[in-house]
């Protein structure tokens, strides 16, 4: 049976089509302001890409912030469970998952059989979320995908003390004005967010091995910063951005 997992985040919508445990197709589009429309568009494009019809899909499971706006889904499940399933499927040894989303960050601890044992999400503040990185990348006039690589070249990371997204931005502007180089400021930004995430990880009690899920796992600078702060290896997969959708598709298969 074919199952479809749809993950509607605050920035991107991801879809994964699954046949048993085989990934048939995946797709990603920007969400825009209407998550319902984004879900429909994602479905249409995915069907076309896979060359199948709507009726060919047995089960659709939605997740992410927009999960309840997908009225064609059979079931809506939160991203906590889906990221847990998705990562466990790809890396069964993982016990702690860090996911930095556009609106919120979460740390999930899995039990030995891959079930969610506990989780913690960021408080109401946007510090420590993907949005923080977006704003900082813009302040540095750097594309988000270059951001991580730039950071790795730093020899002397700048100190960014403010956790507030707005105040950190002005701190960065003054660092630029002082003539600190881009690599060091970028590295400072990643260390700042890593410290914020680390306090969440510690609150929950980190059980290694640790993995990062979600699109931000592609940011090598942040993964490196987290490894430094948490003093542990952080594993990632090239498929990390699709982990939530994959987890949803797995649930559709009855996993």
């Amino acid at each position: 049976m074919l199952s479809l997992g749809i993950d509607i985040g605050s920035l991107t919508a991801k879809g994964v089509l699954l046949e048993g445990t085989d990934i048939v197709e995946k797709h990603l589009i920007p969400v825009g302001y209407n998550s319902k429309k984004a879900g429909e568009k994602l479905l249409d494009e995915l069907l076309q890409k896979a060359g199948i019809k709507r009726e060919d899909i047995g089960k659709i499971v939605s997740t992410g912030y927009g999960r309840n706006s997908i009225d064609f889904a059979d079931r809506a499940v939160t991203e906590i469970i889906c990221h847990g399933k998705g990562i466990h499927f790809q890396m069964p040894h993982i016990r702690t998952i860090i996911d930095i989303g556009g609106q919120d960050s979460k740390v999930i601890v899995l039990d030995k059989s891959g079930n969610v044992a506990n989780f913690v999400m960021n408080d109401k503040c946007a510090a420590g979320t993907g949005r923080f990185l977006d704003v900082m990348a813009r302040a540095m006039e750097t594309e988000i995908h270059e951001f991580g690589v730039l950071s790795l070249q730093s020899k002397n990371p700048s100190k960014i003390s403010s956790v507030c997204t707005v105040f950190a931005e002005s701190e960065i502007i003054s660092l630029v004005a002082k003539g600190e180089n881009r690599e060091d400021i970028t590295s400072g930004i990643h260390l700042s967010i890593a410290r914020r995430i680390a306090s969440m990880v510690k609150r929950l009690g980190m059980i290694p091995p640790v993995a990062m899920s979600g699109g931000v796992a592609l940011n090598v600078g942040l993964v490196d910063a987290l490894e430094q702060i948490l003093d542990t290896k952080i594993e990632t997969t090239p498929f990390s951005q699709y982990s939530g959708a994959l987890g949803a598709a797995l649930l559709g298969q009855g996993a």
Binding site: V77, T78, I80, I81, D123
Partner: protein, 406 residues
């Protein structure tokens, strides 16, 4: 579905007539005292003074979804956005007269403030004492870090005596010790009944939820010491026991039982209650409404006046984090709950400050804990989609754990 408790109607009528009497106090030749929610109210009742609770009013403002606007007004006057929203609601309402009660609260003849619930009330009541130009009595309760000392007892008991002199001075009447004895007994009886009401929720399924308790709490807060409270809680208890006898739960098909910590989110009561019920979860107990019957053991029925000092000092918000955690542990077992929901309340610092520590102290209990960030009345501090994502994920974890346990 169990539907609404029949007693609710009666309760609404009692509260209505209570406020009507307070509004017309002057025509009845009675004085009005504003008092903090944890303040020693019984001597006021014994002296025929009508107690009025700005905090109860604050909750009504919150439930009427007027809190955000009122906080905004107070912030315009210069109060920090971090100041308690009950305080801001009261300050705003006493200026603008906006209120769910027509014309707002009746103006006070005196103010009685006890800092057993927080430190903010001191400044709040000083501000209102200046505004209304009325006498203020402060009942200062030392914080109970680990134990209630003999020095603390002497200190609060001396204040009980001063309190009586204060009341005699400002009413021009001798204190009525005989009536005080009756009032003390009634107050204690009301607390015992309230405890029994809350304990009916030990039953599975629970005949009431914390959302019911938040509502029915109003009487024990405002009118304890009066006969009407005792009568009302007897009626409520009877109705709840009846539900238990017939196995009628407040939540359809109750499958999960949760404990709530902190004040309610007054402006989102229905949404929250429906959200949890949609998962088959009942909030069967909470630390907040239990606070009005947690100190029964410290009061001597025959000598209320000289033992109330200890009772008022040892309430839930005036004790150390270890004791608060012990109370929560006790409720986890007593009500057999599957999870704990903590409201991190932007307004109430003494309630919210130790919550992370309490979480750590609960680690041996192996119970999932959810933290919801909000405010008791300021809807600007609440994000529905954030809260929803957290509640849904929390319930998924609880369901999964329960499945595995089977």
């Amino acid at each position: 579905m169990a539907g609404r408790l029949k007693a609710t109607k009666k309760m609404k009528s009692i509260m209505k007539w209570y406020y009507v009497e307070a509004k017309y106090a002057r025509y009845l030749g009675k004085k009005v005292a504003w008092i903090t929610s944890g303040g020693p109210v019984e001597p006021l009742i014994a002296m025929n003074i009508i107690p009025v609770y700005p905090e109860n009013h604050g909750a009504m403002i919150g439930a009427s979804k007027m809190g955000g606007k009122m906080s905004e007004f107070a912030e315009g006057l210069g109060y920090s956005s971090d100041v308690c929203s009950y305080t801001k609601n009261d300050i705003t309402s006493s200026i603008t007269k906006e209120s769910p009660i027509k014309g707002g609260l009746p103006e006070p003849d005196m103010l009685i403030c006890s800092n057993n619930i927080c430190g903010t009330v001191l400044k709040w009541y000083e501000i209102q004492a200046r505004k209304f130009n009325v006498p203020l009595f402060i009942y200062d309760t030392p914080f109970v870090h680990t134990e209630f000392t003999e020095e603390a007892r002497a200190y609060v008991n001396a204040q009980t005596e001063e309190y009586i002199k204060f009341l005699e001075k400002h009413t021009g009447k001798k204190f009525n010790y005989k009536k005080m004895k009756r009032v003390g007994k009634l107050s204690l009886e009301a607390m015992r009944l309230w405890k029994k009401v809350l304990e009916t929720a030990e039953h599975k399924p629970s005949p009431m939820t914390a959302f019911d308790a938040f509502f029915h709490l109003a009487l024990i807060v405002t009118l304890r010491g009066k006969k009407v409270v005792v009568k009302y809680y007897r009626q409520l208890l009877k109705e709840l026991e009846e539900r238990n006898k017939n196995n009628i739960g407040a939540v359809d098909n109750e499958q999960y039982r949760l404990l709530w910590d902190n004040l309610p989110i007054w402006f989102r009561m229905r949404w929250l209650s429906e959200k949890f019920a949609s998962h088959g979860a009942a909030l069967v107990a909470d630390t907040y409404t239990q606070a009005w019957c947690g100190v029964i053991d410290y009061v001597n029925e025959e000598d209320f006046l000289s033992t109330m000092g200890e009772a008022y000092t040892r309430i839930h918000l005036n004790v150390g984090v270890d004791q608060m955690a012990d109370t929560i542990k006790k409720f986890i077992r007593q009500y057999d709950v599957d999870g704990l929901v903590m409201h991190s309340n932007r307004s109430c610092k003494p309630y919210s400050f130790g919550q992370y520590d309490i979480q750590n102290l609960l680690q041996d209990e192996d119970i999932p804990v959810l933290m919801i960030e909000a405010d008791m009345t300021d809807e600007r501090k609440f994000s529905e989609s954030q809260a929803e994502a957290r509640i849904d994920a929390f319930m998924e974890v609880i369901k999964q754990r329960k499945r595995e346990k089977k």
